[in-house]
Symmetry: C2
Subunit: 356 residues, 2 copies
């Protein structure tokens, strides 16, 4: 049988703790050349006055016995929101839905084991990866965390950092929309034991925090170099969130994998603000990421970037990896099978007698 899972199924079985543990194991395998992950690709064409993008990434996690392909079939726009330009996906599928899928395959038989949406996994693996980086880079004993952003991704950042560092006592949040920020505080307060507080501005949230996590969908910087205190760790989920001057101020900047820009294939003459991440890639002209360490080498213990408690560290959790989806989807499948969740379809529907 091939299992079709929903985001509800995934939410009910996937813990942030498992997500962190599985990803750590995967980064170790990646460092050792056991696990592999194919560079993300973006293929873009105009679709009316919007852009259609087909984004794919593949990864194989031999330790979990699976390979995965993650596919996003997106309708994308780049509206101005306030002072910033945002990259906005339009839920244009029936019932106002997005299209993002993970297909999970067995490396022993090749067969499709499961098909599931990517949304919940995508959020959890971003949060978990940021927390793995923060845990390896931030000073021990940090009790105060700041989170910039109050959206879908920000929630996972809070869940994950509190799971990775149970000693965290306080999480201070800021986002420009006060109502969103307060709703976020209420929501997250139910999910972690740390105290969650809404702040009036970024500075208030950041001051005194040992770990600052940026999780916005702004494509212009939200973290300024002036705020970068001695000993502080900053995490970012995209390259554009931190100013180049702040990066320069860091004693160590670590990238997720440093794959570089996605492989871009686009229709002739198609112009986008930036092909994938908004203005983030312009950062490459202003900061040289090529010498940065990467997360797998930290997880493997081959690098220890923080040399002193006063060092400023930074983890840029840029660009997702197919491998993340392979291990987290494998976990979801395993747990869902235990609970008997999902729709079972005949595997023969997704395999063939004919030589492909």
């Amino acid at each position: 049988m091939t299992l079709i899972l929903s985001n509800e199924d995934i939410t009910s079985v996937l813990s942030i703790k498992d997500c962190i543990d599985d990803l750590e194991a995967a980064y170790l395998d990646l460092d050792q050349g056991i696990a592999v992950t194919r560079q993300r690709s973006d293929t873009l064409v105009p679709s009316g006055d919007r852009i259609y993008g087909l984004k794919t990434m593949d990864g194989i996690a031999p330790s979990a016995g699976v390979g995965a392909v993650r596919i996003n079939s997106d309708i994308v726009t780049w509206p101005s929101v306030g002072d910033t330009i945002r990259r906005v996906k339009v839920p244009a599928a029936p019932n106002n839905r997005y299209t993002g899928l993970v297909l999970l395959f067995s490396i022993e038989t090749g067969q499709p084991l499961a098909i599931m949406p990517d949304g919940v996994i995508q959020r959890m693996r971003v949060g978990a990866t940021s927390a793995i980086g923060a845990n390896l880079l931030a000073n021990q004993g940090v009790q105060e965390v700041a989170v910039l952003g109050s959206g879908w991704q920000a929630g996972a950042q809070v869940l994950a950092i509190c799971a990775a560092r149970p000693e965290i006592q306080t999480v201070r949040c800021f986002s420009p929309n006060r109502d969103n920020c307060e709703a976020f505080v209420r929501e997250m307060s139910d999910q972690v034991s740390a105290r969650i507080i809404a702040c009036r501005d970024s500075k208030e949230a950041i001051q005194g925090a040992g770990i600052v996590l940026c999780a916005t969908n702004a494509i212009e910087p939200v973290f300024q170099e002036d705020w970068f205190e001695t000993g502080m760790h900053i995490g970012s989920i995209k390259m554009s969130e931190i100013t180049p001057d702040a990066l320069t101020k860091a004693d160590a900047v670590v990238m997720h994998l440093g794959h570089g820009a996605p492989l871009l294939t686009k229709a002739a003459g198609l112009e986008v603000p930036d092909h994938s991440q908004g203005r983030g890639w312009e950062m490459r002209d202003r900061y040289d990421f090529s010498e940065c360490l990467t997360l797998p080498s930290l997880v493997a213990g081959r690098e220890v970037p923080r040399k002193s408690p006063t060092d400023r560290t930074c983890f840029v959790n840029d660009l997702g990896l197919g491998l993340q989806f392979a291990v987290v989807a494998a976990r979801c499948l395993k747990e869902a099978e235990k609970k008997g969740l999902g729709h079972e379809l005949p595997t023969d529907w997704f395999t063939e007698k004919e030589h492909p």
Copy 2:
């Protein structure tokens, strides 16, 4: 609804004529930068004493309103068969099946329109593409064709060339296994009006043929330069089928798209005879393909490689394109919908409320 189609459904609705027409339109769009196709990627790890490979390719055909991802989840071995090494996929999925899928998406809404196996489409698009190349390169009025090979791919080559050139009277076949060759002749005789004849060796099949189509799974050359007669057109479905000397003898060599080798990501230390196509890529050391014309420019009429009836021409139909799967799968879906074929599943199973 998202439609799940089978190879039986596809066989019952997909004509080689439609396949040729749709692909010609797609190559024209590709030449004009309207359609796009992402370079194939191969991601490989060891799986016991075999190799697990996750192969993906994406393409978007705006004229058909679709994007597609083709996925192969393969168990691969490289056994020696007679004097040659072959790349053999093992049908290791339940019921001795292979895993190859095409996912078709709408570029207007992003939604998944259909999921179908790739096997029949894969064969038909290879045949159709070879025929498009042969039709544009071979002399007018050719009545005799040779086919080397008697397998799954060889059949599509015969179907397609007979559809593209209805004036063809005779197809002479050779393959090393006489029984296979005769079974092939019987099978193909029912499907085309041309006379199909089994030959005792390659030379007998080739002599006097205006078009020679190689369609084997050998990864060492099956066409020798001595056989390359004046005015002859040779087609090949992989780079390794034709000797470098034969290529050098050609007045014009045209590649499918000339994308170059697939993007390879593999486990550390993993060795394969060649990462994807067996020894074919060694050819690149012995023949410079970089200056070759490509099929889209021929379809667009921007290039006319044959300058005289005595020219020898060659079309190397190397490496599949996601775009081929997009247009042919779109055709299959359209025709299947007319006939009410396939399993309908709720599109909500493959979309999500959560932001991906």
